[in-house]
Symmetry: C2
Subunit: 461 residues, 2 copies
C-alpha cells in the first residue's frame, strides 16, 4: 500500500508539477489591493483542484480574501486537518528578479533542480505537497484511512484579518484530533524537522508629522523641525548599545532556556557562519551574549522593515519633508504580551517627540508566541515517518518566524498543531528569485504519504 | 518715458499673463530624465519669445538641458546681464496638489489674486518679470538704454552641471558690468530686498548595504545586521543634543555676525512666529542660542531630504532590507569648505558602520556661500528704484537658500550679482500648490522698468 503509493508519486511528478505551475502563475499577492481578483482566482483554482479527486471543497467569502475548505474520507474516527495559505508576498524590488516571478520554471542548479517563482516555497509549493499526497493515496487506495479537512487561507502574508472570525464561526468543522501545517523548513536545509516553538509578532507603522507641507530646505532649513531627523532619532533609540531592545518592559515574560533545550540545540551543531555566509554576512548582529540559535528561536527582536520620507526618486530635491514613516515589527517569545508592548512602544515614541512634531500609529497584526506539547503520540509518530523519508533522524526545533495560525488553533480548537515543512534556508522566500527544490517537493509529497500511512494506526486512539 | 512704460505694463497685463501661462504649461522638470524633451521645449519657447521683441536669442546645447542666451541694445557702454532659470522642481507628492501643476490658473484668494502652478514663482514667473519689462520698454521707447544679455539655464533645480563649463567657454559674452538675478523674494512678503548673502550647499546621497538581498525578518531577525537601523543610527548622530551639527570640523570657517549686521537684522523685526505659523509650526528648532534670522541666514545646517529603505508601499512586509538610502544636504556659510566637509562627513559615516555593513556615496552638487560688496553704486541705485515701486524702504538682506549661480558669476566674471526678486514666503516653491501673487508679477515688471530707467544714468560710470 505504502510502497505502491510512493512509486505512483515518483511516476506522476510531471503531472504534479504541471498543477503546481498552474497554481504559481496566479498573482495572489494578498497585501496589495490591486491583486484582489488574483487572490479569488487562486481560491477558485484550489476548489477545482480539490474537487478533481473527490474532496467536497468550497470557497467561503470573507471580508478580505476567500477561505477554501473541504473534506474527504470517513466521517467517524480520526480527524486530521491540514492548513496552508495560497497568498504570496509582494514581488518588489522587481528589478532584482532574474525572470517574471509569476512564470515558474524548473532551473537546473549545481545543487539540483529547483522550481523558481513567487510562492514556489512560501506556501503554494508546500501546500501542494499534502494535496498531491492525498490525491496519490486516493488514486492508489480508493479512500483515505481517516477524515481529512483541507483548510486554506489567502491572507497569511497580510495578517490574516478574516481568519479568527472564520475559525470561530466554523469551529465545529475545523475541530480535529490533529492539525498539520506545512509552512516551515528543513533544519539547515538538511534535517527533517517538526517546529515546536514559534515567535509571535507585533507590527507597527508610525508616521511622524511636522510642518503642514514639504518645505524648501533653504528657506526653512535650520529653523523648522525635520520629521525625517526625528524619525531617525526614534528608530535609533529602539536598541541600546548591546543591541538589546530599549523599549521599557519589553523583556517582561521572556524566559531563559532550560538546560534540556540548551543541550538539544547545542547538539544540532548549528553552523551560523554558513547560515549568514549564504546571504553575504559574517557575524551575528543580535543581542550581546546570546548564541546564534537563541537569537533566532528564543529571543525577541525589534526590526525596521521600511522607512520612507521626503524625496526618494532619482536626482535630488532639497526638501524638508513634512512627514516620515516607518514600518517596524517585533518578534515575540515566551509570554510577551503584544498589547502591553504596543502600548509601551507608543509611549516611548511619544516621549521622544520634540515640539511641533506629532505621531500617528497604524495598527497591524499582533500575536503571541507559541509552544507545542510534544508528548502527544502523533508528534513522535510523525517524527519517525519523516525520518524514514529523509533517512536522517528528524528533530523538534524552534523557528524564528511567526506563524500566528499555530496559536489560533491552540486558542480556538485547543490542539497543538504540528508544523512540518520542507523548505530550505536559501529558498529566498519574501525575496526576489524565490525557489523550492524539486527534492523538497517530491520528498515532501512522499513524506506526507508516510505520515498518512502511520496515522492510520492512530484510528482508535 | 518711465510713466508711459509703467502704464503700458498695467494695460497689457492680459497679454503678459497669457505668455507666462504658455510658459508654465511646459513640464520642464530638470531632475527627472523623463522630462528631457519638456526642458528642450521650454528653451525653444524662450528663444521664440525673446526673438519676438528683437532679442538675438539662441539655444545652446549642453551635456544636459540647453542654455538660452540672447542680447539686445547698444553694443557700447553699460552692459547688464540678467539670469533666470526655466526648469522647475518635481511635483510629487502629486496627490497634495489641488489641481494639475501644469495647468496654471488665476485664483482669487482673500489676500488677492495669485497665479497657481509649478514654476509660477520659482522661477518662470520671476524670470518673465524682467523679460516683460524689457519688452514694454522697447515697445514704448524703441530701444533699450544699454546692452542687456539674457541668460537662462535649465538645470538650476538639478545642480547646474552644465553651467560652469558653459560660462567659462562663453566668458566674453557673459562678462558684464552688472549682473541681475531674479530668484529671491520680498522680506516677510512685504519689504522689497536685495539679497547680499547666500548660503552655499553640499548634497550627499548615502546607501548603506548589509545582507546581499532582502531577508525574511522571521528567518533572520535578531541575527542579521539591519541597514535601515544602521542608517537611523548614522542620521541620528549627525546632530548633538543642542541641535548643532556633530560632524568633526563642520564649523571651521563659520564667522560670527558683526555688530553692524546684528543691528540691521534686529531692526527688521522679523516675526518668526508668523513665519513658522504659516507652515504649521510654533518654535524655532535650530541651534540652541541662535536667533531665528541667524538660523536662516548666517548659520550652516544639515538636513535630511529623503530616506528610503525596505517595504514602503501599502500593507506590511516583514522584510529585513538589504539596503537603506538617504539624501542629505548641508547649507554652508562664510568660508566653510564643501570639499573638506564632504570628506569629514564621509569619514564619520564610515566610522559608524558595524560589521557586515558597507556604504557607498553618490556625489551631488557643492558650492560655497556668497557675500556681495554693496559699495558698488548700482546696489544703492537699484535699492532706491525698487523702494519707489513698493513705497517701502528696500533692504539688503540674507537668504537661507543656495543660489550657486551667484558664486559662479563672482568666480568667473568677477562681478557681485544683485539678487532682486518678488516672491512671497507662502509661494510654496518646491511644494505642492506653488503660486506667485499677481501683485508680485505686476509690480515686479514695473520695478524692473524703474531699475532700467535708473541704470540708464550709469552709462558713463
Amino acid at each position: 500500500m505504502l510502497d505502491a503509493t510512493l512509486s505512483r508519486i515518483d511516476n506522476e511528478m510531471e503531472q504534479n508539477l504541471k498543477r503546481l505551475f498552474d497554481f504559481l502563475k496566479i498573482k495572489s499577492i494578498s497585501t496589495d489591493p490591486n491583486f484582489k481578483k488574483d487572490c479569488a482566482e487562486a481560491a477558485d483554482w484550489l476548489v477545482q483542484d480539490l474537487r478533481s479527486f473527490g474532496v467536497m471543497a468550497q470557497k467561503y467569502e470573507t471580508g478580505g480574501h476567500p477561505i477554501v475548505q473541504g473534506c474527504l474520507g470517513p466521517n467517524t474516527g480520526l480527524h486530521v486537518l491540514f492548513y496552508g495559505h495560497y497568498d504570496v508576498q509582494p514581488v518588489d524590488p522587481l528589478e532584482l528578479w532574474d525572470r517574471n516571478p509569476f512564470e515558474p520554471v524548473i532551473e537546473e542548479l549545481s545543487s539540483g533542480p529547483v522550481i523558481r517563482g513567487r510562492g514556489s516555497s512560501d506556501d503554494k509549493g508546500q501546500l501542494m505537497t499534502f494535496v498531491e499526497a492525498c490525491r496519490a493515496w486516493v488514486a492508489q487506495n480508493g479512500v483515505l484511512p481517516f477524515k481529512v479537512t483541507f483548510f486554506f487561507e489567502g491572507e497569511e502574508e497580510s495578517g490574516s484579518p478574516s481568519l479568527i472570525p472564520f475559525m470561530k464561526k466554523h469551529k465545529n468543522e475545523i475541530s480535529s484530533d490533529i492539525v498539520l501545517i506545512c509552512d516551515t523548513g528543513l533544519f539547515e536545509s538538511r534535517v527533517p524537522s517538526i517546529v515546536t516553538r514559534l515567535r509571535g509578532i507585533l507590527k507597527e507603522e508610525i508616521t511622524i508629522s511636522g510642518p503642514d507641507k514639504d518645505l524648501h530646505s533653504g528657506m526653512y532649513g535650520g529653523i523648522s523641525t525635520n520629521p525625517a531627523k526625528v524619525l531617525a532619532n526614534v528608530l535609533s533609540a529602539l536598541h541600546d548599545n548591546d543591541n538589546a531592545v530599549a523599549i521599557p518592559n519589553f523583556y517582561d515574560g521572556v524566559p531563559e532556556l532550560t538546560e534540556n533545550i540548551e543541550d538539544q540545540w547545542r547538539s544540532l551543531n548549528f553552523n551560523h557562519n554558513q547560515f549568514l555566509g549564504e546571504v553575504g554576512l559574517s557575524a551575528p548582529a543580535g543581542e550581546l551574549g546570546r548564541s546564534p540559535l537563541e537569537m533566532l528561536w528564543s529571543r525577541p527582536t525589534c526590526e525596521i522593515n521600511g522607512i520612507k520620507s521626503g524625496y526618494i526618486n532619482e536626482g535630488f530635491k532639497t526638501v524638508l519633508p513634512s512627514q516620515a514613516t516607518a514600518k517596524i515589527s517585533f518578534r515575540l517569545v515566551g509570554n510577551q504580551d503584544p498589547v502591553k508592548i504596543r502600548k509601551s512602544f507608543r509611549n516611548m515614541v511619544q516621549n521622544l517627540l520634540p515640539a511641533d512634531c506629532r505621531v500617528s500609529f497604524e495598527e497591524h497584526e499582533a500575536s503571541k508566541a507559541s509552544q507545542m506539547d510534544t508528548s502527544a503520540p502523533e508528534f513522535e509518530i510523525a517524527r519517525e515517518a519523516i525520518s524514514q523519508e529523509w533517512e536522517i533522524e528528524a528533530a523538534f526545533i524552534g523557528c524564528g518566524g511567526s506563524i500566528p495560525i499555530a496559536g489560533y488553533f491552540q486558542q480556538i480548537t485547543g490542539v497543538d498543531p504540528m508544523l512540518i515543512g520542507f523548505a530550505k534556508d536559501d529558498d529566498q522566500i519574501h525575496s526576489p528569485n524565490e525557489k523550492y527544490d524539486l527534492e523538497s517537493f517530491q520528498k515532501g509529497i512522499r513524506a506526507w504519504v508516510r505520515v498518512i500511512n502511520s496515522f492510520a494506526g492512530l484510528q482508535n486512539v
